[in-house]
Amino acid sequence: MPSTLADRLFSAVVRLVAALTGLLLLTPTLVVLVVSFTGGSSLKFPPPSWSIRWYVELFASAEIIDPALFSLKLALLATLVSTTLGTAAALGIARSRGWPARLLDALFMSPMVLPAMAFSLSLLVVLNALGLRLSLGTLVVGHAIICVPYVIRMVGAAVQQLDPALAKCSFGLGASHFYTLRRITLPLISRGIIASGLVAFLSSFDNVPVSLFLADARTEVLPIKLWAILEGSLDVRVAAVSGVVVVATLVGLIVVERIAGFGPGLRSR
């Protein structure tokens, strides 16, 4: 069927906007990577000359490396807590259909709707009221709670795809609940667990509001350190950190893709 002028115009506009949108999505990441290799000492674009001096300087700056290592530790702990407890909870919720399950599901998902600033302030207020000191433990609890919705949703989705007949077969053949969990259920949802672990790790590593309220004066996390640097002066080392973070994320993603397959936890077995 011959297309009219209006049809062709519509298609052209759609393609143009789509191309611009693609460009919009790509440009910032590209710009950061390019600028991080500047030989100059400002963020001028395009860079006047090229060098890796900012990467060299970055790895010599303990003031950035230390917060980065602390953020890694914190994110690992938060991921461990949220995926362990979250997976158990997702399994429990998936098995039960009543209103208590729905209530718990809504509760575990609610950190996603709540502005992080409000939640973080509330944690600080309650720690203060109870007279508890800020510590790594309180930080981990705050971060883990922020990560839980991803785990609940992604592991929950993996459990939903599980054929209930498999567990029934296992019971029928005389296996215990624990054996079935260990040998049947967990291996089958492991992709969902690993993928949700990655998302949980990224969101903890990236979290600012919780750390802003719950980190004591001596502990610094990476995003807040970078934020402080950016508020002061436009330091090119931040571009180098960004380059490292982008590359590390991509590598982590490829590794998880290799182990777990993509499409967080949903790709069929």
Binding site: T29, A88, G92, L226
Partner: protein, 318 residues
Amino acid sequence: MTKSKSGTLRDLLPALPLAALFLVGFVLPLTVLGALSFFQSPEFTELGFDQYRRFADDGLAFSILADTLLIGAEVATLSLCLAYPLGLVYLAAGPRLRTILTFLIMLPLLTSTVVRTFAWIVILGREGIVNSIMQALGIWDQPARLIYTWGGLILALTQIQLPLMALPLINSLIRLDPTLPKAAEGLGASRVRVFFTVILPLTRPGAVAGWLLVFAAASTAFITQSLIGGGRIILMPLYIYQQAVGEQAWPFAAALSLIFTAAVIAVVVAVDRLGKDRTAARTARLKAEAAPAASADAGIAAMVSLKPEQADIGRPNA
């Protein structure tokens, strides 16, 4: 399945540790925060509605709240206008282009917020890309102030949150029965008409879900708001932070937090309902197919559907 009540509760046992953590680390703090907002600062002795009265009387606080909701709505609407063309191209694309588009859409999700915000400072700054290009072309004689402006903030937030819009929308578009637009075209409808009378109404659930995700994310995006706004644009998250940490006015910060939370949830629930009424049946069917969380609360269900949909967009390329 027929189960006794005790059976149901026993099934929920594995959820107990997390429930305990949430009770101590989530429910209790928010309850205390709620209680705190009814104290008069700074003595913490007398109860009253002073904090809320202060908010009502304070024109500044009210306009900050309005600005915050407005920026969320503007960013979400702009994202919607950009995501539909992207989604239509994705729908028509072959597997190769789809892989590229998926990568492009996921890219902002995979870089940290500070990094993404930093990129926008590089682009919009005085010596930034936009200024360099415009000056090189001779269009501007001197650098324009792009950063620390409302428009700059909208642009940065849109790029940063766009994936949250594109993923559910593309998921809706893939699920659309491809014979429907074809039938409309065969019956002589123009492409514009097919889009507005067939595609748009049938993909409304995805559009609404994406709009809500972007709205909630953009209006609470503390880091981007404060860095790109640069202290010149004060929005709710920064205002709460200033009141809590700078002024040590905890009861007022607590009241602000609750008002802000209530406002965001009110918008989410209202818009979610709007999306449902028109296409209730279709939404229900999509949710049954797509979101395991269809039973959850309205607003939360919208938030949640992100993950399964992300999975779906990965699937064609897997």
